[in-house]
Symmetry: C2
Subunit: 426 residues, 2 copies
Amino acid sequence: MIERAILNNLQLTEIQKAKSEAPMILVQKYGGTSVGTPERIKAVARRIIASKEAHPHLVVVVSAMGDATDELIALANQITLQPDLREYDAVISTGENISAALLSMAIIAQGTRAISLTGNQAGIKTESIYSRAKIVHVDPTRIFNELKSNKVVIVTGFQGINSEEDVTTIGRGGSDTSAVVLAAALGAEECEIYTDVDGVYTTDPRLVPSAKKLKEISYEEMLELASLGAKVLHPRSVECAKENGIVIHVRSSFNQDEGTRVKEVTSMEVNRPVTGIALNEEQATVSILKVPDKPGVAAKIFSKLAEAHINVDMIVQSIEENQINNITFTVARDDLEMTKTLTNQIAKDLEAEGIKWNDFIAKLSIVGVGMISKPGIAARMFRVLGENNVNIEFISTSEIKISCVVNRKDAQRALEALHREFNLDA
Amino acid sequence: MIERAILNNLQLTEIQKAKSEAPMILVQKYGGTSVGTPERIKAVARRIIASKEAHPHLVVVVSAMGDATDELIALANQITLQPDLREYDAVISTGENISAALLSMAIIAQGTRAISLTGNQAGIKTESIYSRAKIVHVDPTRIFNELKSNKVVIVTGFQGINSEEDVTTIGRGGSDTSAVVLAAALGAEECEIYTDVDGVYTTDPRLVPSAKKLKEISYEEMLELASLGAKVLHPRSVECAKENGIVIHVRSSFNQDEGTRVKEVTSMEVNRPVTGIALNEEQATVSILKVPDKPGVAAKIFSKLAEAHINVDMIVQSIEENQINNITFTVARDDLEMTKTLTNQIAKDLEAEGIKWNDFIAKLSIVGVGMISKPGIAARMFRVLGENNVNIEFISTSEIKISCVVNRKDAQRALEALHREFNLDA
């Protein structure tokens, strides 16, 4: 699978050939806000034409205009709430067909050669599954041919084609992944992701005005931050970039500033233990109380939730007394009602005492590859929270991340204190 | 070209095979109004499921929802008024992708198997030209396969694919033509065209309440009426049906009534000299006065207008005096300003006296194959107009049609008188 693995030989040969013949390819991706109106599309066209001076071989991936995809989903939902997924993909993929063709049209109208290609025409092959297909292969023949004709190639994000020659979509936020996969398949020098923020910050600058833009960030840190709700890049695209060694340059389509490069960061460059802090206020906790501790209990709970497509984030199991556990986890607040129903049933089956939940929480996460080599970071986090009278409901850690769930009323104060503590405004 | 000629051998073999194996295919086409809202799409889905009882092999061609195509055109116009036509087609063809997939989704949600196919997937091959490509071939393989799997096959109207594998559109009103071409290529028994009127009337029933619905009408009459502004069927689809011997059944998607069949009508069945009357109030006349009569004069005038894509309808040349002619013609009122500019120039080049024009006219046309064998119909028309004090500005005739241009203030009165005279309300 190309999203995870090295390119196959055929493609490498094609890329070598293209490289020896021509300048390096730059892949750019413009999100829905950047192409939200005809005026913005024309502005993006001007930017692309300017980019082409320095990068004659330019491939541009584009999302649907503004809320177009949401409107298509709403339309499908008016037909049925359980749509046939092949038809659903046929509907919701059209937003990108429109934006790609309009963008190409705008570039051509400004006097530069361009062509829009659908996922099919761009050779983006996916699994047969609908609505969340993975990209398995890219046949770059047509893209290379169009680049040779000196055209800017505009490719629809979010979509591909399966072995039945039917249109598939690759899941929400998929255009980032489309761009990174194309960058890998075309042997591009870099993948620029244009968005409405101008880079990755130490934390959300709307919450902490002293937040600083990062010049670069490692894949691992970006993955933790993306999953934690930093909303800049889709985690899947970061994973794909990491697997294929593609440098992602996150930058704003509204100015010319350098943004943040997501790349392999060597340890030499790490001088701060914490790179960024994420705040997620869209979750809720659910606890199953006094679960008899038998093998397979956790599996029973979480496979039931997985079957219902409920994504569970943090999981903590604490020992209440001998052979009796409390199990607590977080889910998206939107999934809370469904989770309560299922968990109540599970609690009965397991002969647990019952469940409780809390939807007024916030999850604070500090992230940094530097913390691997610097012990005591967790202790510092807990101390700062304590000094600021922030009670920690529960804790979860990974190698480069420490997350604490706190009362939502304390979240802003805690975020500011942590940002100061780890010198992120310096 | 399949739109004009007999199917090629390969296709005939396929059709023979399909016919021997399976029941006859019925092709239905639903227009934009019929699928204008999610509710209407669901209603059309119910109708299709009911049709499938009697016609297990059902192929449905669908237009874009309501004003969707106009909205896409408006969007493209906001990018540029002179769009690259390949990109233009990529944009404006998406309306049908959406309506076809939603309709298929609605059928599946009601428990019947269905699949939507794009022009590409349905094997509809066109010329390479964009925005008004002709269909040159249909490869029915996938449609036959899907029908064998007991699915209702929903095909996007208005679009096809060219030899570069790029999406093309076949011109406005093209979905009617898509349906007829498919009916021909699939060897269908009939092509049902669903619209918001329930058939073809002797004249517009909104103007003459006593107008009667016709049970059937010949291709030739329908062609004259379609071109004359009856707005029921696109003339090109009628021509295509005539060339391929396809019976078109025009009916309403809002009721179950039989509509009007457009077919080869034998002379035995003709018992009225006039089948219908069309009124067109969207034209204007332009005259070039005192043109010296030299060879090539008419060619000079009308090739100039053709170059500017101005469609000229009636043309009358009258001799003013020796070697001096007046030439008068009608154009769409929207084209009048452009026509005046061009014609003024032409008049100077030809050393004519000048031009005049009239945009307050109406064109009344009586149509009927019966008039071939019954002389005196024209005289009867002129007499009725005279008796009703309607002055005739000019006259043009074909074998089955007589058109008179009159002052627009007289049009309604003239229409009613002619409708009575030829017993069309009987």
